[in-house]
């Protein structure tokens, strides 16, 4: 080092320490450079930017003024939202939404009975969170809850009446019988030796009594708890029958969506398996059903359900007005679900099938234990996307005369109580916000799942 310093001696100044880092020049980094790079990089881009800025400046302030600044937030009748009564320009009439909010949620469901709908909403939310939250505990219990207990509870709670109560009693008896069976079996597992085999019996006998047959016993106990809860409700406040003609609003929208998913997913899995089957007749029937349904618009399926379903069953069993579109929607969604599931089945590497077969598993065990759990997991984004489509399509039941959320909006628009020039714009904006939040939230979820799955693949 000393040599080097002596060599450098003729120079007047040698920097001994590193310079502090300088910020990048303004033309490369910082907001100005960003604007230049992303908005003004070429004559064409400058023109495009100007056009877009004009569009935004032209539309956004007007919308903000209409929906927020000039909006009317409180009031009890149309007078609150009429410009000449208020004495200033009037924007969106949110007072109308606030006034009819209950109607938008429950339709004409009798007011003293609306707590029943609320319970169903809470259960539905619980089921959805249980299934969609990926790290939620006891997934199997969640699936059982969403696909079996929730439909039964919704039926009993929403409809009510002697028929539903009889059905509830039947469910309660079955569950009680199963519970009793499990109690007996827990003390005497020898009774099922023929099913679990000697080795299985040895394992079971090693466990303490309350831990034997734990999984299925949990399902039964859970079902029992729910049914007892429902029976208590049925006995103390009572569940008088509420005709489906009175149902409406978001209740019906969510009901159709829920029925669509609860029935279309299992049916779709069966159809997808059928389409992939090596048995020609089963394959043919599945293909015919799937391609037929996917080739026609949902409206024609709804018309068919509405007009032909009553013809196809004996007159005394003529299906309820609300049940008909539900059947149509479920069958329609099943065909689309089947194609999504088929994609998952085809994406499974052949080694999975061969591995399962080499372990000696039969067809159903192979599907249930090896293939479907993997295939369904990778098509979760596809299932959610199909469900978004289904959720948007629930609006079509309006056309066959069901009071879903969109129909309740339309109904209030023709009601003279709130007939003002801005009511329609307000109602549609409210509907748009509702549908957008639901669909957009679901699509975010599906993107997040997709990312998580891709992360697993990347490793």
């Amino acid at each position: 080092m000393t040599d080097a310093t002596t060599e450098m001696a003729p120079y007047a100044f040698v920097r001994r320490e590193t310079l502090e880092q300088q910020p990048a020049p303004l033309s490369v980094a910082g907001p100005l450079a960003w604007v230049r790079q992303h908005l003004l990089s070429s004559p064409l881009n400058i023109a495009l930017t100007l056009v877009c800025v004009y569009l935004v400046v032209d539309s956004v302030p007007g919308l903000v003024r209409f929906y927020f600044l000039d909006a009317i937030w409180t009031g009890t009748s149309r007078d609150a939202c009429l410009a000449d009564k208020v004495g200033r320009p009037v924007g969106a009439c949110w007072a109308y939404i606030a006034d009819r909010f209950q109607y938008f949620i429950y339709g004409s469901y009798p007011i003293p009975q609306r707590w029943r709908v609320n319970i169903v909403f809470v259960m539905f939310a619980l089921g959805v969170v249980w299934l969609l939250w990926t790290s939620a505990p006891k997934k199997k219990l969640g699936i059982f809850f969403f696909f079996v207990l929730l439909p039964i509870s919704a039926y009993v709670l929403l409809l009510g009446g002697p028929g539903a109560e009889r059905f509830l009693g039947f469910c309660l008896m079955v569950t009680l019988a199963l519970a009793a069976l499990y109690v007996v079996l827990s003390f005497a597992p020898q009774l099922v030796r023929f099913n679990i085999g000697d080795a299985g019996l040895a394992v079971v006998q090693q466990l303490p009594v309350w831990k034997r047959f734990f999984g299925p016993k949990q399902l039964v106990l859970f079902a029992l708890a729910i049914f007892v809860f429902l029976s208590l409700l049925a006995s103390s406040p009572g569940l008088p029958r509420v005709d489906t003609g009175l149902w409406g609003g978001m209740t019906v929208t969510f009901l159709i969506a829920a029925v669509g998913i609860v029935f279309s997913l299992p049916l779709g899995v069966v159809l997808a398996l059928g389409r992939r089957s090596r048995l020609p007749i089963i394959q043919l029937l599945s293909v015919i059903f799937i391609e037929f349904v996917r080739g026609v618009p949902l409206i024609t399926v709804l018309f068919m359900a509405n007009t032909m379903l009553p013809l196809f069953v004996p007159q005394e069993y003529s299906p309820d007005r609300l049940l008909r579109p539900l059947v149509g929607v479920a069958l329609f969604a099943a065909a689309y679900m089947a194609e999504v599931v088929r994609g998952g089945l085809q994406a499974m590497p052949k080694g999975q099938y061969e591995g399962a077969m080499s372990l000696g598993l039969g067809y159903w065990s192979m599907m249930r234990l090896i293939i479907l759990p993997q295939a369904l997991r990778i098509v979760i984004p596809g299932i959610v996307n199909t469900f978004i489509g289904l959720f948007k399509d629930t609006t079509l039941v309006t056309i066959v005369g069901i009071f879903d959320f969109l129909r309740t909006i339309e109904a209030t628009l023709v009601d003279p109580t709130w007939a003002t020039p801005t009511t329609r714009a307000t109602g549609y904006a409210f509907a748009a916000v509702f549908y957008f939040l639901c669909c957009w939230g679901m699509s975010r979820y599906s993107i997040a799942v997709e990312k998580r799955l891709a992360a697993g693949q990347k490793r």
């Binding site: 930017t49 090596r278 080739g295 018309f303 032909m308 309006t398 669909c439």
Partner: protein, 396 residues
């Protein structure tokens, strides 16, 4: 089981476990169940129809319809037209809105899809907002919006909004100048057709020449001359035979011009913007699917931006785009059945709506309607498959 397996010779399982026989049993059982369902449905339907005194069969096809349809491409009147003719009117209206919608949605969708990939921040963000909003709202809500919130509150014919080129817009629809062909007017149409055919022939000849000799011909210029200049020359040579009848106010209504009904406009705008949102995503995915190395390789070969896009990126992107694009076209066609909600006389509104209500013959009417949509679906996917095959990767 252990006792029986000892008796059976090795290699022979019980018939119960023979997969072939099991397969037959399953299929037979399924057939029996489906057959029973169909049989019981049919017998119930016959019983119910008899009880409700509803005729069956397709005899109603030739019965007088007795209702009018406002938009018709073929002659139709309340007196003297049959249900069969009503069917054709509805079908043509469906095909009309679907075909125009497909063309417009393709243009708008490609535009928005490319805009989403733009390096211009505000352009790509606006395109993203458009796609997210359109895709996450039900089509029916959008149709209600266009029809009830945009077109219905327009002023009445007396205060029509005047658009450029003599177009008038009011709450009865869009009024378009009606072109009238004088003597020699047909020649212009012929000139246009000849120009189109000649362009097509020239293009294929030029391509063959280029493949054989490497010489390039100005296809664009020739096409311009044949398709635009030739008809214009004929137009002036025949003494400008095309005149326009402009819509004018007469009393409380407009006279002259072609009236495009608001239902049609609302449905067309709704379908176009909705489907364009989906097509935009398809286009974006397709362009992103072409790896960057392709563009870089083309640049390395000395191709400029235009030819790179035209010769390298787009042909490969189209391969990815076409299959989902087909299903979007089919969706648009099927979604045009939402016309029934805003009263546009399409197949569903006319046939499954009015005719079904008048005749009560649900089975026949719904079956015919479904058959039509199935046919449209199958035909479209057939042609798209042919196109897809031509575009597909040719592997040696």
């Amino acid at each position: 089981m252990s006792t029986t397996s000892a008796e059976i010779k090795p290699g022979k399982a019980s018939l119960l476990y023979d997969p072939k026989i099991r397969g037959y049993v399953y299929q037979f059982a399924l057939l029996a169940v489906v057959g029973f369902l169909i049989w019981s449905a049919a017998s119930n339907a016959i019983e119910n129809l008899r009880a409700q005194k509803i005729a069956s069969g397709f005899g109603f096809w030739h019965n007088a319809a007795g209702f009018d349809i406002n938009q018709k491409l073929i002659p139709f009147s309340a007196s003297g037209s049959t249900y069969g003719q009503a069917f054709w009117v509805g079908l043509l209206n469906t095909l009309l809105v679907a075909s125009i919608g497909i063309v417009l949605a393709t243009f708008l969708g490609f535009f928005v899809g490319v805009a989403r990939l733009s390096s211009n921040w505000i352009v790509s963000k606006l395109a993203m907002i458009y796609v997210e909003v359109i895709r996450n709202l039900p089509l029916l809500l959008q149709l209600f919006f266009w029809y009830n919130a945009v077109l219905k509150p327009l002023p009445n014919p007396r205060q029509s909004i005047e658009l450029p080129a003599g177009f008038l817009l009011n709450n009865r629809g869009l009024y378009v100048p009606d072109p009238q062909f004088g003597p020699g007017g047909n020649l212009i149409i012929w000139a246009l057709l000849i120009g189109l055919v000649a362009t097509f022939v020239f293009r294929s000849w030029a391509r063959k020449q280029q493949a054989a000799t490497g010489k390039q011909y100005p296809i664009g210029l020739v096409a311009l001359g044949l398709i635009i200049v030739l008809p214009l020359l004929v137009y002036f040579a025949t003494g400008r035979p095309i005149t326009f009848v402009y819509p004018e106010l007469a009393g409380f209504n407009l006279r002259g011009g072609i009236q495009i009904f608001p239902e049609f406009v609302a449905l067309l705008v709704g379908l176009t913007t909705y489907t364009a949102g989906f097509i935009a995503e398809v286009v974006r995915a397709g362009i992103l699917a072409v790896s960057k190395g392709q563009t870089e390789a083309a640049n390395a070969l000395g191709l400029r931006a235009g030819p790179t896009l035209k010769l390298v990126v787009i042909p490969q992107a189209m391969r990815v785009i076409i299959p989902p694009l087909t299903s979007n076209y089919l969706n648009l066609t099927k979604n045009s059945s939402l016309a029934v909600a805003i009263g546009y006389p399409d197949l569903v509104q006319v046939f499954t709506g009015t005719v079904l209500n008048q005749t009560g013959q649900a089975v026949e009417v719904v079956a015919i309607t479904m058959a039509v949509y199935l046919t449209i679906s199958l035909v479209t996917s057939f042609f798209m498959n042919i196109y897809n095959k031509r575009m597909a990767l040719v592997e040696r």
